[in-house]
Symmetry: none
Subunit: 177 residues, 4 copies
């Protein structure tokens, strides 16, 4: 709280005028991110008809998100490890974000399998793989920005060449020839 207050140029006490607690601040941050993300999905992803197109659109959206707000999904993911109180409105929001993302992937995969566009792999497994891919890219992007907190950055830094086309190609066709 002290660090955030200082970064905002206000006093610690001032933060409590806007958020009841640290918990509530984090929850509100998550809530806004989720709402914004859901709107974008509705606008950019769900408008497509073909599951393959939906999948590609989602990958493009996620990559754009990652480049713009590097850290959101990542923090959401990690927050789970740091906060583990019961009855945490923050954790509940975090959970809602990840659940939403997973179910989105799930529904796309399942529809794609029905239509014969995707192979028959356990869709939950695919969703897990994709979530991991985005998480890792996110991490790379975040390291690129803040080289002090860097782990992956020493090796990779999410360069421009890692376009959505590259990601789509990898996810659709794997590494084998």
């Amino acid at each position: 709280m002290a660090d955030i207050a200082e970064a905002c140029g206000i006093a610690k006490a001032t933060m409590y005028e806007y958020f009841r607690s640290k918990e509530e601040l984090a929850a509100e941050w998550s809530r806004r991110f989720r709402r914004e993300y859901e709107e974008r999905v509705a606008r950019d992803v769900l408008v497509h008809d073909s599951p393959s197109e939906k999948m590609k659109a989602m990958i493009r959206l996620d990559l754009k998100q990652i480049r713009t707000f590097s850290g959101h999904f990542l923090t959401a993911f990690e927050a789970n490890a740091v906060f583990s109180n019961e009855e945490s409105s923050f954790l509940r929001e975090i959970s809602a974000i990840l659940t939403y993302h997973n179910e989105l992937i799930l529904s796309i995969i399942e529809e794609g399998q029905k239509r014969g566009e995707f192979r028959k792999i356990d869709p939950k497994f695919v969703a897990t793989m994709l979530a991991g891919a985005f998480l890792s890219l996110q991490r790379a992007a975040s390291d690129a920005k803040d080289s002090e907190k860097c782990v992956f950055g020493q090796l990779f830094s999410f360069p421009e060449e890692w376009s959505s086309d590259l990601v789509i190609d990898y996810i659709f066709h794997g590494i084998a020839c």
Copy 2:
């Protein structure tokens, strides 16, 4: 520190006979994990000749690790977000683990591309994707164990069916038909 001491059945103060600080304890834990992992890689992965076989062996090893010590890679990954002091011996070790893992993948991929076994994709990108995949599986495994701290677990729980063959198939051939 109190929790660890209790779990070990010793007094908090006793821990400082063996480790200079919490930081150093974590660093030592990472160090041992890395050494052990490197030994296994030498024994199980590097013995293979073909890059494809090496890759498959590595996937099998990582999955076994995940099922056995669910939490190590994950914690390593997340630790980066929690600890961000400069001059942290722990962070340096964490970084060493991830760097080792990445360079292992890198070298396998590059060799495989030379031999024509893998497609020409930026090997750093592939390493990032693979790291993400393992991370996500790890998370699923960890959620499966402790359903209270669960995020992904509400959907996925790393079932037995997610065999190394499934992971290999996905990574080698992607989701497209």
Copy 3:
């Protein structure tokens, strides 16, 4: 201060237009209570000639006060324990209320002893006893209103039957046959 402002339907800051500080607000509240009490004493108590009648009138007045504004004397009494800053205008006022009450009792008792209406007991002691009696009744009345904060209320609740006649009889003749 926030609670009081809300109860008054004004902003916290507005309170500082009328009172320099929380301290001063409390002091003014005490001052008004004391003035009002002194007026009532002049009107209802001092008009009597006989000390016994004065004493009875005072008991009746105090009981009425207790039933009407349960909490004033009590708060005055307890405030002493909570606020203990030196140089407190509030404490000085509180002290003035209790001092006034004590000296009133004192003068009645002393006159009553001169006239042979009361036994020869240290009048200061009697004043202390009477103050305690009123305090305890006040507490009972306050508990009766707010049973959540109740301590005595679990046993006693200041019922209607505890009339001024009962109090007068007890104070005049004690418990012995």
Copy 4:
């Protein structure tokens, strides 16, 4: 907590080695006081047969307590006003002390009325009166010790002459001739 720590010559943090919270510290203090008081009552009061003697013994005990530990009953009484959280182990203890004291008085009075030693006055009322008397004496004693926090002390200071005989006489026979 800071004040108590300083008075004990230890660090604030050290207090939390012995008491889980401020609340628990207060509760433990109350608990010990109550146990000690109950033991004394069993030893000095309940051994008597006649209710009058019991009453006198209790008055003597309370006065001795007041002179020795000035502040306990008083603080117990006032604590009720300061702490008003639900689920407060402290408040529960405080309540237990006052309830114990009240029920002791009640039982003595009722027995005394049966045996014809006391007049027929509502015993709950008498208990309330007596509690008030002790409270007021306690306050006087406390003021006498700490003249800075003094309210009553400006008038009264619980002199030696206020013996238990004086209190007994007053409570048994009142102020009238």
